[in-house]
Amino acid sequence: MPHVRFSSHLQKFFPTLQQNIVVEGKTAAEVVAALNQRYPGLGAYLVDERGALRKHVNIFIGQDMLADRKTLQDAVSDDHILFIMQALSGG
């Protein structure tokens, strides 16, 4: 199952959030849904009510930045590590 690592900024809002989480999911959208199940409300911090990745949030799947920011259908495999972080907006 894919591993997920987070920006430490999210721990401010989800204090029990672990830095390395293993969840099920074949796409980035499924991973976000699984994360939201484990940490209720976390999904709304990452995606808007349409399921699109928020403008200033980034997800890397391995070394690759998420391509489908609208529906998060990028494939995720069991040996992938996902990095979820805030974009460095504003310098």
């Binding site: 809002f13 409300g41 808007d48 009510e49 349409r50 805030q86 907006s89």
Partner: protein
């Protein structure tokens, strides 16, 4: 009861309280997070705060112990079918559209006394949301959202999309609500939000081909007189207006040749429907402080037809950002952000005497450091 001042800023929520004449700092919440609006529901004692995270979206929090502890509740979201309008593309006859998402929480407004669980939320892009379970769930007020003129006559001003930035609930009849949309205009419902009508007669918009158009006005902030709910005031993009007939008609009371014209906040006297205060800036074109200071103006005529002449109070110690603060309520709050850097906060006794609430924001103890 102790007076409480709830101060939302771009860097958190500060609460002050007053015993006798001394204001003292009580608490700080949401450190370093932009608070787009905060309000205390006097019916339930619930304190509400909306947070506009740069990265993580708009969030809604409530506290039952005046900010000691907070719980996040699900912020309102648009139903799947809702679309928002963006810009015109070349050759298009209609504005482009896309699925609507809440991009900003402008306002949290408790409902009437007979609706103890009613909460309204005003948002960008122009959605009014309603809760009847004290914020556990919200739904879009479709009767307003589905107004046919929304596509052509509601648009962004200052921000990218229209925002519901004023909500006035008639204390005599909670089913009667007036709202202000920036840009869109004033709307009124008499049937608890099922149907809405525009109420912009007498307003003038200098950025429209027809300045007296039925829609498309920009009421930056509208307030209802606590002592006479038929009287409404608004600080508009294009002047200060007052209505004595529940927004059926508006009268321009801007100051000829003076600073009272463009601005954001307006505050009303709790007992006198002839008295209001505004904090004007120099014109929409410049948006800078009047004489490099915070300028507070009170209506000159205490009796008879109000006119916003005279009584400018210049506080030279205030920063420009302070001109966007809202002074609201029967008491005085310095409410709406943003104010990233505050020089000094002030209290007022009907505008005739001013005191510094706190000088803690001014750091005069410059410390030397080695370079």
């Amino acid at each position: 009861m102790t007076d409480v001042m709830i101060l939302g800023t771009r860097k958190g929520l500060l609460i002050f309280e007053r015993d006798d004449l001394a204001w003292r700092f009580r608490s700080e919440s949401f450190k370093a997070q932009p608070v787009s609006h905060a309000t205390l529901d006097s019916r339930t004692g619930t304190l509400w705060a909306a947070i506009d995270h740069g990265h993580w979206g708009n969030k809604l929090h409530r506290s039952n112990d005046l900010g000691v502890t907070w719980a996040e509740v699900a912020a309102p979201t648009f139903p799947e079918s809702a679309i928002m309008f963006t810009g015109f593309s070349e050759g298009d006859e209609q504005r482009a559209s896309k699925p609507a998402v809440v991009s900003y929480i402008w306002l949290i407004q408790p409902g009437g006394l007979d609706q103890p669980n009613r909460i309204y939320i005003g948002t960008e892009p122009g959605g009014l949301f309603q809760s009847d379970d004290n914020g556990e769930t919200f739904h879009l007020v479709e009767g307003l959202w589905n107004r046919p003129e929304r596509e052509k006559w509601w648009f962004g001003g200052g921000r990218d999309h229209p925002g519901v930035c004023s909500i006035c609930v008639d204390p005599r009849d909670s089913r009667h609500v007036l709202i202000g949309i920036s840009v869109g205009g004033v709307y009124e419902t008499h049937d608890d939000g099922a149907t809405w009508e525009a109420k912009n007669k007498g307003l003038f918009a200098n950025y429209l081909p027809d300045g007296y158009a039925e829609f498309g006005h920009d009421p930056h902030f509208m307030a209802m007189s606590p002592s006479n709910p038929d009287v409404l005031w608004q600080q508009n993009h294009c002047g200060v207006f007052r209505s004595a007939d529940s927004a059926q008609t508006w009268t321009d009371i801007s100051q000829k040749g003076g600073p009272v014209y463009f601005g954001f906040p307006i505050a009303l006297d709790a007992k006198d429907d002839q008295t209001a205060w505004v904090v004007p800036a120099i014109d929409a074109e410049y948006r800078v402080a009047v004489e490099q200071a915070l300028c507070v103006c009170r209506t000159a005529a205490r009796h008879g037809r109000p006119c916003a002449r005279g009584c400018p109070r210049l506080m030279r110690s205030m920063s420009y950002s302070a001109t966007r603060w809202t002074l609201t309520g029967g008491g005085w709050h310095l409410g709406r952000p943003p104010a990233t850097c505050m020089c000094r906060t002030i209290g007022v006794i009907r505008g005739s005497a001013w005191v510094a609430i706190s000088r803690r924001f001014i750091r005069s103890d410059l410390r030397r450091c080695k370079v």
